[in-house]
């Protein structure tokens, strides 16, 4: 498969008796923006956690650009070029805004330090719309600004693969427009992204392709328009016999 950056094959993770991710397989091509969607509890976040190394799969393989990353600890995966944001935003409260961004670029896929880190942080803050805010206390940021900050931190390592876990959740309509535009810009830079999202408008307008999960399994994988009109997908969302 030429042009494939990430390949997940038969990844499986169970918690006690509950199989959160049940033999899931999919590919992500270089430069692609893949949407990972599905009803609550379908295993999307667990899937992201498997990719980022937060948890290990019980079986299956995850390969990033030819290197097997399944089973590696999170810091190794990060150094190979996977960066992420968290479902519940996680900023570092006692660090300044600038340091929050540098944190992403010092230990990861690329490593900058000193003046370079300073320049990178300022450029990224500008990029996500926090220009001129480098010195403000992190605790005083609004919710969307915290999300922007987390995004800047993830971008600071110049990741090969960016994982966004419901990055748009909780934003009001006008913030949502800004947020969608921001992701589109990042994607237009050529960045490969997987986004877990519930906001359907964003999925429709942003994604090249979507993978739909339900009860730990993939139930659809393909072009956005086709997948979203698939009866199986609609049933999973609206509650068919097993929802």
């Amino acid at each position: 498969m030429s042009g494939s950056l990430l390949s997940v094959s038969a990844a499986r993770r169970a918690f006690g008796g509950l199989v959160a991710v049940n033999d899931v397989s999919f590919e992500v091509k270089d430069g692609e923006l893949l949407g990972l969607i599905g009803p609550n509890g379908s295993g999307k976040t667990t899937m992201l956690n498997l990719i980022s190394g937060a948890i290990r799969p019980n079986s299956g393989m995850i390969v990033l650009g030819g290197e097997t990353i399944s089973g590696l600890p999170a810091h190794r995966v990060a150094r190979l070029g996977v960066a992420r944001t968290f479902q519940l935003v996680r900023v570092l409260p006692t660090l300044s805004v600038e340091e929050n961004v540098t944190a992403g670029g010092v230990f990861g896929h690329i490593r900058v330090w000193g003046e370079d880190a300073h320049k990178l942080a300022h450029a990224l803050l500008e990029r996500v719309g926090l220009g001129g805010r480098a010195g403000t206390p992190t605790g005083s940021l609004t919710y969307i600004d915290q999300k922007r900050l987390e995004l800047a931190r993830a971008l600071a390592s110049n990741p090969r693969l960016l994982l966004l876990d419901e990055w748009l959740a909780g934003l009001n309509p006008s913030e949502l427009r800004i947020g969608i535009q921001l992701i589109r810009d990042i994607r237009n830079d050529g960045r490969t992204i997987i986004m877990v999202e519930h906001v359907m408008d964003a999925i429709r307008s942003l994604c090249d392709r979507v993978v739909v999960m339900s009860s730990g399994k993939t139930i659809a994988d393909g072009d956005v328009g086709a997948v979203l009109s698939d009866p199986a997908v609609i049933r999973a969302y609206l509650g068919g016999e097993n929802a």
Binding site: S52, G53, A54, P73, A74, H75, A78, R79, A83, R84, F86, R90, L92, P93, T94, L95, E99, T102, A103, G104, V106, F107, G108, H109, W113, G114, E115, R153, S157
Partner: protein, 322 residues
Amino acid sequence: MRLLSASETRIGVIGALGLASVAMLPLLDQGYTLTLTVNIMLYVVLCTAWALFSGPTHYISLATAAFYGLGTYAVALGIDILPFPLLVLIGALVAGVVAGLVGVATLRLSGVYFVIFTLGLAELIRQVVTWLQSEMGSSLGLYVLTDLREQHLLWMLTGMAALVYVAGWLINRSRLGFAMRIIGNDETVARHVGIDTALAKVVLFIISGTIIGAVGAILAPRYSYITPTGAFNSMISFQVVIMALLGGVHRLWGPLLGVIPFTILFDQVSSRFPNHTSLVVGLAFIAIVYLLPRGVLGFFADLASLRRRFRIVLVEDGKAVP
């Protein structure tokens, strides 16, 4: 890139002057003040080294007595065969190795496990040392007879203090220091930005343990007769925790603010009311948690921000600032 900022230069100069004036003390006094100052410098180094690790990680280490005792014991065992400076180095290395082993075994786990493990570490090493000594048929007590007097100890400790402050400052501005601050904020984030959190913690614990081991070795001549029970005295671990937390662990010089008052208080209590020392230690722990959760340092910071706010209110009311 700038090497030193203006405030760093200022603190550096004040610090150097401070340490230099401490080193001059033996010219003025050879008695009680000197002994008390040696105690203060001893705890300054121990507490600062402790806070290097426990400050950013929030892991409460009670291993101080173990590392300190290892340093003391290295000197006691080798004083007849090897030169003293080499023994200090050996003591430091042994403590560092033990810190590494303990770190690898416990630092992957939660803080509670770490506390419990370090709580008994000194006792464990004491039992093993006692057993080894009796197996090998040597006597338990060892003599350390040297020409080193209180002023020599003071000079060595002053050197260690300079070392620990410079080391702390270098760590703080290094990637390791930055990594520790991120870990202290959110370990999950730390891992996901590529920090090997377990390794970073172990490295820092080794640095801290090595310094404490060296201090234990330096102080060995003071005891002159060394037994396992005397060398591995758990009380040191607790006193170090109290003083460091009392001062505040968020700044390199924070522990200093706790060491000075507590060393003087403890010295007074143990000479006048020797049966009340446990009680004082207990009440000190309780007082810190309820009254000074962020140490003297945090208390002054809060006071300063309170006064700023107070001033703003006064100015807004159009009144003069008192």
